[in-house]
Amino acid sequence: MRKIFFLLIALALVAAVSCNRSGTKNSKKLTIAVIPKGTSHEFWKSIHAGAIKAARELSSPGAEVEVIWKGPLREDDREQQIQVVEGFASQGVSGMVLAPLDNRALVRPVEEAKNAGVPTVIIDSALASQSIVSFVATDNRKGGMLGADRLGELLGGKGKVILLRYAEGSASTEEREAGFLQEMKQKFPNVELISTDQYAGATRDTAKRASENLLNRFGDDVQGIFCPNESTTAGMLSALQDIGKAGKVLFVGFDTSQMFVDAMRAKQLHGIVVQNPFNMGYLGVRTLVESLKGKPVEKRIDTGVTVITPDNLDAKEMQALLHPPLDEYLK
């Protein structure tokens, strides 16, 4: 038994030494940790690609910029994301680009990291802290308002509408939901909001279940639907397709995926509000590196928001938003 243990240790050591890849560290090299909310949504892959684009552009011989990409182990689990932030802080990376899962829960680790000399740029969702380099994100309220404009116009200013919310405590989607509701009530007072208090949860799967429940209850009345992010839009879309209602209800979603493009061509989805995650990842890393090099940076940077409809789908600038060059950067 003791022999086996020593054998194991010896094996492990050999394995460890043979794949030890971190050589001597160049003092000028910048290591940037990019921490998304999760890693499976296509949205985060675009951010990853943008971050790598920035790293490549900003690297010069002798002063490389390296991007480390690491999401929470369990998608959308705050505790797990805190652990990742703490891990990078104690590892001593040059800086972090973080999409916080919660505007409060991540404050402590980010401030502790700052005290340890690791600055953070916040992307995507706000953080309730002044101890950050910059906040680089979509104007989410405006995104929600654009969604309301599109759906209101499609409905001709009247009809029954459902808003399926994303998850509890996510600042970016709450802004979109608030923007949607505000614009709908002000600009289209004759639209009746029949359900606005249901949450879809973190994944497509939970979103689909929530959508099915909503459609069982309101399926005969509803004329318009708005969903505030990729997973809710996808869940609602497949729930509509399952019961044969896709195309019969006016539906505006948020974020992009190939599934949404196909659905728009099939006239099952009548508009999507899209952010520019590629730009967000790019500007997040770029802003952090500039700040690390001592240049002044803006405290708030807007990365843009656009409505894509079945009509403008094939325009060149829309295609660029729909298909960021992932393969070029993530291979």
């Binding site: 182990l73 505790e79 802080a89 001593g92």
Partner: protein, 334 residues
């Protein structure tokens, strides 16, 4: 086989070396993990720096406190799947209490007691309604999570700054503490629990219950009442884990710790606990929790993606149990 392990506690002379080797096995595993990662990272002084150790220890506290309670339950032949939900529920209740203007100590006590209450309900379902622990606590997993979301209004509960927020600061405010206050609390609880399990009548009864319930009952142990005590006691610990979770997040989050029960059970199993009852040790479970925390921290610092981490931890659980079985079969032959 089970009886033999038990007998080891009574006969210190017989097979003492082997017993110690058995108890050391998880510890060797921990050292192995640390050594491997110190080499892989290529900067052992960073991986083993006080800064990083503080971080890892603070990250282990919630799983460790949960694992103390889970060890007692698993030794008694039971299981509790509702830990993650109980942690979310007690965290939310403590945060709501602080918001309602209660003194922080009152809010924290209420949070812990609610954990105990969840445990009592589990115990009653298992004994009075005669539902097997797996199902009873699976039900509670849903119920407690739902109640947490309901009373929190499906939102996170933010609260004003109190001392409860400092329980798991990686760098404690009083520098003489060296590590977060919560780490010390976990250590004290682990020592107390280990003594209670090994040196008290209650502890002996827990082992007896898990080894052979019918025999325990025949010996005059009120097994049903004992089970309720066990789940209640563990529940109090889960309540404390919930307070710790709230302290780390600085908010009551009804969605937090989903799936954490699996980490806690894994810690107990890696530390030598047997799901068929009668075996397990607090020290082993603590080391199990540390192994997983060091693995996570190490995988991140090496730069491995998450999926590798999940594969390693999954394989480790099976591997740890396989070694344990193998050791037992050797002991049976000897």
């Amino acid at each position: 086989m089970v009886a033999e392990t038990k007998a080891d506690w009574f006969r210190p002379s017989a097979g003492l070396a082997r017993t110690w080797l058995n108890r050391l096995a998880p510890f060797l595993g921990l050292i192995l993990v640390i050594v491997i990662f110190a080499i892989l990272i290529g900067a052992p002084e960073k991986y083993l720096s006080l800064k990083n150790l503080r971080t890892v220890l603070a990250q282990t506290v919630i799983v460790a406190i949960g694992a103390i309670g889970m060890t007692v339950i698993i030794i008694s032949g039971g299981i509790d799947l509702s830990v993650g939900s109980a942690i979310a529920l007690t965290g939310v209740i403590t945060a709501l209490g602080i918001n309602a203007g209660w003194s922080t100590s009152l809010a924290v006590s209420v949070g812990i007691l609610v954990g105990g209450f969840v445990g009592v309900v589990n115990g009653l379902a298992i004994t009075r309604m005669r539902v097997v622990p797996f199902i009873a606590t699976l039900g509670m997993l849903g119920v407690a999570r739902g109640v947490a979301k309901g009373i929190a209004g499906s939102q996170t509960v933010n609260m004003p700054e109190t001392w409860a927020n400092d329980l798991l600061l990686t760098i404690p405010k009083q520098s003489w503490m060296l590590v977060a206050p919560g780490v010390w609390i976990a250590i004290v609880l682990a020592v107390v629990a280990a003594v209670v399990l090994r040196r008290t009548v209650f502890g002996r009864r827990v082992f007896a219950l898990g080894s052979n319930e019918a025999a325990a009952r025949a010996c005059g142990i009120a097994t049903n009442r004992l089970k309720i005590y066990i789940y209640a006691l563990a529940g109090l610990l889960f309540g404390l884990a919930g307070v710790m979770q709230m302290s780390r997040l600085r908010q009551g989050d009804p969605t937090v710790a989903a799936g954490l029960e699996l980490d806690i059970i894994a810690a107990v199993v890696i530390g030598g606990g047997s799901l068929s009852g009668g075996e397990g040790s607090i020290l082993g479970s603590m080391i199990g929790a540390l192994i997983m925390a060091f693995l996570r921290n190490g995988c991140q610092q090496v730069g491995w993606p998450n999926y590798i981490q999940e594969i390693i931890i999954g394989a480790l659980i099976v591997f740890a149990v396989a070694i344990d079985r193998w050791r037992h079969s050797r002991m049976a032959i000897a």
